[in-house]
């Protein structure tokens, strides 16, 4: 039974991200800033940390593909960036200590890397022609603040959930 919690949670977050941008007013603090929820990938980071790296990469791949098909209609960007950032995250965690504060900090850094990578790719295929400084002002920094709040709220519950998940994997 515990096995179904992980895909269910990730699916819920996948739908919740789009609900979040629909329901939270865009001019919450000041107009013109874009807050992008990255709750799904943060949960995948925590899954690679406390669950298993293999599962993290597989879920990154599946949800990257879904994200591309449903939300961007350009297949490839998130399909590539989700597993890659999860892989980089697990690489970081192999050399750092596994304190929950360190995990949260590294997740924020990996979200920033993901955002920058996606920006670079969109720049490359001419979806956008924005320069990096206005990108960081309009999108990168507000996004990091929003996701930092999410991590502070949910780091401990996510840790508990994925630890239980990895226990159930080991028992099988």
């Amino acid at each position: 039974m515990k096995r179904f919690w992980v895909p269910l949670l990730l699916t819920f977050l996948f739908v919740f991200e789009s609900l979040f941008v629909q329901l939270v007013p865009g001019d919450l603090f000041k107009e013109g800033y874009v807050f992008v929820p990255r709750f799904l990938i943060i949960s995948i980071f925590f899954l690679t940390m406390y669950g298993s790296v293999k599962h993290g990469l597989i879920y990154g791949f599946i949800f990257g593909l879904l994200y591309d098909m449903v939300y961007t209609e350009i297949i490839g960007i998130y399909l590539f960036m989700f597993p890659l950032s999860a892989y980089i995250f697990s690489g970081f965690m192999r050399i750092l200590q596994t304190n929950i504060l360190v995990v949260s900090f590294v997740s924020i850094i990996c979200v920033a890397l993901l955002e920058a990578g996606v920006y670079q790719m969109n720049l490359l295929i001419h979806i956008t022609d924005m320069d990096f400084s206005s990108f960081s002002k309009i999108r990168l920094i507000p996004t990091l603040i929003l996701n930092l709040v999410f991590i502070i709220l949910s780091a401990y519950p996510l840790k508990r959930l994925f630890e239980k998940f990895s226990d159930s994997l080991r028992n099988d």
């Binding site: 699916t11 739908v15 919740f16 991200e17 789009s18 609900l19 979040f20 941008v21 629909q22 329901l23 007013p25 865009g26 001019d27 107009e31 013109g32 874009v34 992008v36 929820p37 879904l66 994200y67 098909m69 449903v70 939300y71 961007t72 209609e73 350009i74 297949i75 490839g76 960007i77 399909l79 590539f80 996606v118 920006y119 790719m121 969109n122 295929i125 001419h126 979806i127 956008t128 022609d129 924005m130 206005s134 309009i138 999108r139």
Partner: protein, 295 residues
């Protein structure tokens, strides 16, 4: 170099980059319709999303109503003021409409580019990847008669066009998208109609850019901008916004007008997909495009 090929990680990376480039190239093509697996996945997720989004909207709507109650008094005053004007306008519109139909009957002209048939739809999702992909997903699709490139508006004005359709949902690209291929033929209402294209969005000021206006045209502030109805399946005279200011473009051959959009691109819940009433045969459509260029 046998050692190079034995490095598993490197090979996985290289292969995935090749697949990545191929997939992006495939999806960036000017596609008429999505592939079947994509349509299937979009329909399935659309079903899940509409199940989740409806109760969520009720819940959010409840709090919004509470907030609205606070400034009801001021709003009521303002609205009463408008109401007096409304009655006068309504009478005028009625007589004008009647005169228009009578005149059309005399000319034996049955349909015009302006006729459209609105199809109500509800927003079920929005792309979280904002700024790069300003898209919403609505709950009407091919089976309800939605086609690619149809105009989509809220009660206040044009918000975008249909980017792709699946049997039960369709994706709308908003005018605020930064995608340079997102263009719409527009006209400035005035003594003499001026044509240009809406291309580009100024993210920091939230202005639309109307490009390609003649350099000698006199354009005033607060002139209305509407769709021109030329090309494709767009109906004419759908409001887009009002002119804020006009600047000469970089080469001095044309003018660019900054437009304040009349619709809100953020809080969108109910939209209308506009089916144009008038069908145009292919050859005539081409002639019309040429005519537009002559102007």
């Amino acid at each position: 170099m046998p050692q190079f090929f034995l490095n598993k990680r490197l090979i996985i990376l290289l292969v995935s980059i090749i697949i990545l480039v191929a997939l992006i190239g495939f999806s960036l093509r000017d596609r008429d319709q999505l592939t079947l697996p994509e349509q299937f996945i979009k329909d399935t997720t659309g079903w899940v999303q509409s199940m989740v989004s409806r109760p969520a909207h009720y819940f959010a709507g409840f709090f919004e109503n509470l907030k609205d109650l606070q400034n009801t008094y001021d709003e009521n005053k303002e609205l009463k003021k408008h109401l007096d004007d409304m009655a006068r306008l309504e009478a005028k519109v009625y007589s004008l409409e009647k005169e228009n139909t009578e005149l059309k009957e005399i000319l034996d002209k049955k349909d015009s580019l302006r006729d459209y048939d609105p199809l109500q739809a509800t927003v079920i999702a929005r792309s979280p990847d904002r700024l790069w992909h300003e898209m919403i997903i609505i709950n009407k699709g091919k089976s309800h008669g939605v086609q690619k490139n149809m105009a989509v508006m809220t009660s206040r004005g044009l918000i975008g066009k249909v980017k792709s359709t699946t049997p039960f949902t369709s994706t709308v690209q908003l005018l605020s998208a930064l995608d340079p291929t997102n263009r719409i033929s527009a006209a400035l209402q005035g003594d003499k109609k001026l044509y240009g294209t809406i291309e580009g969005y100024d993210k920091e000021n939230e202005w639309l850019l109307l490009k390609g206006l003649p350099v000698d045209a006199k354009i005033k502030k607060d002139q209305n901008v509407v769709t021109s109805g030329m090309g494709g399946v767009f109906p004419g005279d759908v409001p887009i916004g009002k002119v804020l200011k006009v600047v000469p473009d970089e080469f001095g051959l044309n003018q660019t007008a900054y437009i304040k959009p009349s619709a809100d691109f953020y809080n969108i819940e109910h939209v209308m997909v506009l089916k144009r009433g008038m069908e145009i045969p292919k050859e005539i459509e081409n002639d019309e495009v040429e005519e537009e260029e002559d102007l």
